[in-house]
């Protein structure tokens, strides 16, 4: 009879102090908060799924987007995210160990495990910042068509991606800088790409080794490669050069991919960040002996729940952004 309500006399049922779920108020509220937060994240991930199924034939391939590892050059898909996942799971483990030590009222052990948890969280947030910076910077560059589609470049002989700098020419062009006095509303120029559209076009025409790759996936799940004539024809549709990714343009493919990436990993990163802050507060409270005086370490358990939840969400983000 594990699940039934505590029975007793009428007074003890209605007189307060009854704990049918055998959990304290604070812990129960933490659980209810986590349930609602889980639904928020589910909403984001489900809308990501919506956009992805809508553009199922042209969605970017994650393995081609996240290929970098800090301090190493080359193509390493997934390794760094796997490392980040492991760090977060590891910090979850130190958090459970802190809760476990708290149950046994071992203050020093709690301090050490909390400390390690905070370090793990900090490494994770730092890694995510690096991941963002790499994604925003971009690596090869591409052109965007009138319809907002992305055309990427490939070296025909090596069948590898070509960066804009590999073939674009430098033309003696004059740029007219948009100034405040020229418009009623002043818009700043935004970022400037390293090559103009003309330079990319000219470079493409003079270099027969370069082909164009469209967003569309073929039956093997790879991006469609056009031949030289098709490429030349397709390039006429280009209207802008894109380098890196932001909320408006995305050199890796569909711009929704970048939008969701920033939004979901950003929201998750914000959770990790606030988790680290809350952990820090509890960490100092443990050092000050607050919970020793209180007689129990339930506070550590409650922030622990939040921290594991962050890990739990990351497991899903990892799957739906990087694996599937």
């Amino acid at each position: 009879m594990d699940s039934t309500v505590t029975t007793g006399t009428e007074e003890s049922v209605w007189g307060g102090g009854n704990k049918p779920l055998n959990a304290s108020y604070g812990k129960l509220m933490m659980w209810f908060f986590l349930v609602s937060d889980a639904l928020t994240f589910s909403g984001f991930l489900a809308s990501y799924g919506f956009s992805r199924f809508k553009f199922i034939e042209s969605w970017p391939i994650a393995d081609e987007v996240f290929t970098h590892v800090p301090f190493f050059h080359g193509n390493f898909p997934m390794y760094y995210v796997a490392f980040m996942t492991f760090i977060l799971i590891m910090s979850s483990v130190t958090m459970v160990l802190a809760v476990d030590a708290g149950h046994k009222m071992k203050k020093n052990a709690v301090i050490w495990y909390m400390f390690l948890t905070i370090i793990g969280g900090a490494i994770f947030v730092g890694s995510q910042a690096w991941e963002w910076a790499t994604f925003i910077k971009g690596d090869y560059g591409a052109v965007e068509t009138r319809g907002g589609r992305i055309l990427q470049f490939v070296k025909a002989d090596e069948n590898s991606r070509a960066a804009l700098a590999d073939f674009a020419v430098t033309l003696p062009e004059e740029r007219i800088v948009h100034k405040r006095k020229n418009g009623v509303w002043f818009d700043s120029e935004g970022y400037k790409t390293s090559f103009s559209l003309n330079e990319v076009m000219e470079g493409f025409k003079s270099n027969p080794n370069i082909l164009i790759r469209t967003e569309v996936l073929d039956e093997n799940g790879e991006k469609t490669l056009l031949n030289r004539e098709q490429s030349l024809k397709k390039l006429k549709e280009a209207v802008a050069v894109v380098e890196g990714a932001n909320l408006v343009h995305n050199e890796y493919g569909n711009r929704l991919f970048a939008d969701f990436f920033f939004f979901i990993t950003g929201f998750h990163g914000f959770h990790v960040f606030s988790g680290v802050l809350i952990n820090l507060i509890i960490f100092f409270n443990v050092i000050l002996g607050t919970y020793e005086k209180r007689g129990h370490y339930e506070m550590v358990e409650k922030v622990g729940l939040y921290w594991h939840f962050v890990d739990l969400v990351w497991v899903f983000v990892f799957t739906f952004f990087y694996l599937v």
């Binding site: 594990d2 699940s3 039934t4 049918p20 779920l21 055998n22 959990a23 304290s24 659980w31 349930v35 889980a38 639904l39 589910s42 489900a46 799924g49 919506f50 992805r52 199924f53 809508k54 199922i56 034939e57 042209s58 393995d63 898909p77 997934m78 390794y79 796997a82 996942t85 492991f86 799971i89 590891m90 979850s92 483990v93 958090m95 459970v96 160990l97 809760v99 476990d100 149950h103 068509t145 009138r146 319809g147 589609r149 569309v216 799940g221 549709e237 339930e298 622990g304 729940l305 594991h308 939840f309 890990d311 739990l312 497991v315 899903f316 990892f318 799957t319 990087y322 694996l323 599937v324």
Partner: protein, 127 residues
């Protein structure tokens, strides 16, 4: 406060001597699953990417199932739901599962419908 821990996982197949040992055991299991996911993600075996089950690649189904397994062990052992009363567990687990399944079902069906409209209807968007 549930101070007593249930120390058996895999439906009683593996029993740990202490709660700490159980935590490390679960970590080893989660790491193992992550390693499998990353391995499959990098190699992408032809037999798994070529087979479709219910309109999705078998590989993706494997990823999703492994993710749910991981989520289960994080919630059950790290968030110690295993030690809570089953009424608390059910309230917390089944509510989101029901709502998320419903949301995912309607959104993905709608998305598939829009995909077909854009593909077969006279909508020009790929230019």
């Amino acid at each position: 406060m549930a101070h007593e821990h249930k120390l058996a996982i895999f439906r009683g197949l593996v029993k740990f001597k202490s709660n700490t040992a159980k935590i490390w055991g679960v970590l080893a299991f989660l790491t193992f699953i992550t390693a499998i996911e990353v391995g499959l993600g990098i190699t992408k075996p032809e037999s798994l990417t070529g087979t479709y089950v219910l309109g999705m690649k078998l590989l993706n189904w494997i990823f999703i199932i492994l993710t749910l397994v991981k989520a289960y062990y994080i919630a059950w052992d790290f968030m110690h739901l295993r030690d809570e009363k089953s009424s608390l567990r059910r309230a917390i687990v089944w509510t989101p599962i029901f709502l998320v399944c419903y949301l995912v079902f309607i959104l993905l069906f709608e998305a598939d419908y829009i995909y077909n409209i854009m593909k077969e209807g006279f909508v020009a968007w790929h230019f």
